[in-house]
């Protein structure tokens, strides 16, 4: 069964703007799926249609095989959405906001209270339950949004840029939490501008641009398309100049940080040998962030230049 199935979805706004030009998309149950795209590409419109905030022009959307037009109520029971912007009454108390959301789904008072408590504790906002939401920091409000989206125990959770503008600590704790609920069976669809976030969390990915899906594949498959990859080496001893005969495209970022770009055909073993022969000792090595970014930019640019991919 597919957690989400979209076929030939079109959205044309008044004024003629074609936000979605007939997209097809399928997300398997249990997946952690990234929906990426530049600003105005159609990500939020797609999420808006799935969650009934945007009226589609044509096409079909199914949540866990339930057509949202044919059985709107049942489809919505399975869905949780974390919007891009804060969308709760900030004058209400945190606990009330989350319990009320459970009530809108028809949960009993007892279930609502228990679920709200569980997710508030999980997201570290239990201590804030009696505070007015407007007094919370931006990061805390994000947690309230996530707790609110989960309080009905949805099978499909959609997060529209959940970590935009939040600090590293919160971002990482949210990553851990999302990984945990995904491992427990919740299907997650994530849109984000932080490509390393998508790379780290998601198994499958679709890239949308100008209302069209320009790529839909697994993260692993996409990353294998990289023609070259950059690695960062932390050096044991400071280095003032690079040896001439490295044979790789290399940049000395600072005396203790060396960036080496390795082509698809070149193995990693050789670079270690070359560096070792040049008397350069390595204390640690990591992938340079931004490898997905290169692919993303390539796909979006090629779509902009006439769809060559």
């Amino acid at each position: 069964m597919k957690a989400l199935s979209i076929s030939n979805l079109k959205k044309e706004y008044a004024g003629g703007l074609q936000a979605l030009k007939g997209i097809d998309l399928e997300v398997s149950q249990g997946d952690f799926f990234a929906l990426l795209g530049p600003n105005g590409a159609g990500k939020s419109t797609t999420i808006g249609v799935i969650s009934s905030l945007v009226t589609k022009t044509s096409g079909q959307v199914k949540i866990l095989d339930i057509d949202i037009d044919e059985n709107h109520s049942l489809a919505k029971k399975k869905l949780g959405v974390v919007g891009q912007e804060v969308n709760f009454n900030q004058f209400e108390k945190v606990g009330d906001i989350i319990r009320n959301q459970a009530g809108y789904h028809g949960l009993s008072f007892k279930e609502a209270r228990e679920n709200a408590k569980y997710y508030m504790q999980k997201l570290d906002i239990w201590d804030k339950r009696n505070e007015q939401a407007r007094k919370l920091s931006g990061g805390m409000k994000r947690r309230v949004m996530v707790a609110k989206a989960l309080v009905n125990n949805p099978e499909l959770l959609i997060l529209d840029e959940p970590t935009a503008g939040v600090d590293i600590e919160l971002r990482r704790s949210l990553w851990d939490f999302l990984t945990e609920i995904n491992n427990e069976g919740t299907t997650i669809i994530l849109t984000t501008h932080y490509l390393e976030e998508a790379e780290r969390l998601c198994r499958n990915i679709a890239i949308i641009d100008s209302g069209e899906i320009v790529e839909n594949t697994s993260m692993q498959e996409l990353l294998t398309r990289l023609e070259e990859e950059t690695f960062v080496f932390d050096l044991k001893n400071p280095l003032q100049t690079l040896p001439d005969n490295l044979g790789y495209q290399a940049v000395l970022e600072n005396p203790q940080k060396l960036k080496v770009t390795i082509g698809k055909g070149q193995g990693l073993n050789t670079i270690f040998e070359v560096l070792s022969n040049s008397g350069i000792q390595i204390s640690s090595m990591r992938n340079d962030t931004g490898r997905l970014e290169e692919l993303f930019m390539g796909l979006v640019d090629s779509n902009l230049n006439g769809g060559e991919r």
Binding site: L53, H72, S73, K77, G103, Y104, H105, L107
Partner: protein, 262 residues
């Protein structure tokens, strides 16, 4: 959603609405009480004694049903229009739209919230009026029916206004330029029999006149309506007709996503 789930969801909306206006009771419950008290003191006690009888009753006695209805109408309307537009403005309406809630339940929840505030303020005004006049009720069931149905009607009106409103200015235009004149010219403070015949005829086009007079009849046992040849049933029919019309329009626009969906 099962009927039980719908019931729970409706209770949640109603609880939230009542909690909202109770939280800001100094803005929602106290001002109408003070305003009505001032009406009683100025128009009832000070000026009313000089006016004498109106429509066959003491002026204070004549005025009380109109003032109660005026409070019910304006508070039912303003509760729904400000609450629903506030939710639209803060985008918290999205909380409801992404849930399995059917449209009629959203409408019903807000209307019941408006009725709750309208009736509460109506009760406060009635209690205040009892300090000034020893009032007795002619027909309890009719008075309860008229006050509740009028509150439902104006709650629906407030909802419709909120659906179309795009700014805070839009939620004050109709109350200021349409409702207030219709209420004041609907016979709250005077009997339309005092008017020249032409203006009596014009007044009959004001639907609020029928509501105020139906309520006055239920309290005092007499009103302008019978004097002008209209039965109370006509007023009741009119109120129910408007409720059906407004509810249908609200549901249609909710279905179309007017003002709430892109």
């Amino acid at each position: 959603m099962t009927p039980l789930e719908q019931y729970r969801a409706l209770l949640t909306i109603l609880y939230k609405e009542i909690h909202r206006f109770m939280r800001i009771w100094t803005q929602t419950l106290i001002p109408p009480a003070i305003m009505i008290m001032l009406y009683f003191v100025i128009f009832g006690t000070l000026i009313g004694k000089r006016i004498g009888q109106m429509g066959g009753f003491d002026y204070m006695q004549f005025m009380i049903p109109g003032l109660i209805m005026m409070s019910v109408i304006s508070n039912s309307y303003s509760n729904v229009v400000s609450s629903f537009f506030g939710q639209k403005f803060a985008r918290s309406i999205e909380e409801l739209l992404i849930t399995p809630l059917p449209h009629y339940l959203i409408l019903l929840g807000w209307v019941l919230g408006g009725v709750a505030r309208g009736l509460l303020v109506g009760a406060i005004v009635t209690i205040v009026s009892l300090w000034f006049y020893d009032l007795s009720v002619n027909n309890w069931s009719l008075s309860i029916f008229v006050v509740i149905s009028t509150s439902i009607l104006f709650s629906l009106g407030g909802f419709l206004n909120a659906l179309f409103a795009e700014s805070f200015d839009d939620i004050s235009i109709i109350p200021t330029f349409i409702m207030q004149p219709l209420i004041y010219l609907g016979g709250v403070f005077y009997s339309i029999q005092l008017l020249p015949s032409f203006w009596q005829t014009v007044s009959l086009a004001n639907p609020i006149l029928y509501m105020i007079n139906a309520f006055r009849y239920s309290i005092l046992g007499a009103s302008d309506l019978e004097a002008l040849g209209f039965s109370i049933n006509y007023a009741i029919f009119m109120i129910i007709g408007f409720i059906v019309l407004f509810a249908s329009i609200c549901l249609w626009f909710l279905h179309k996503g007017r003002g709430i969906r892109s």
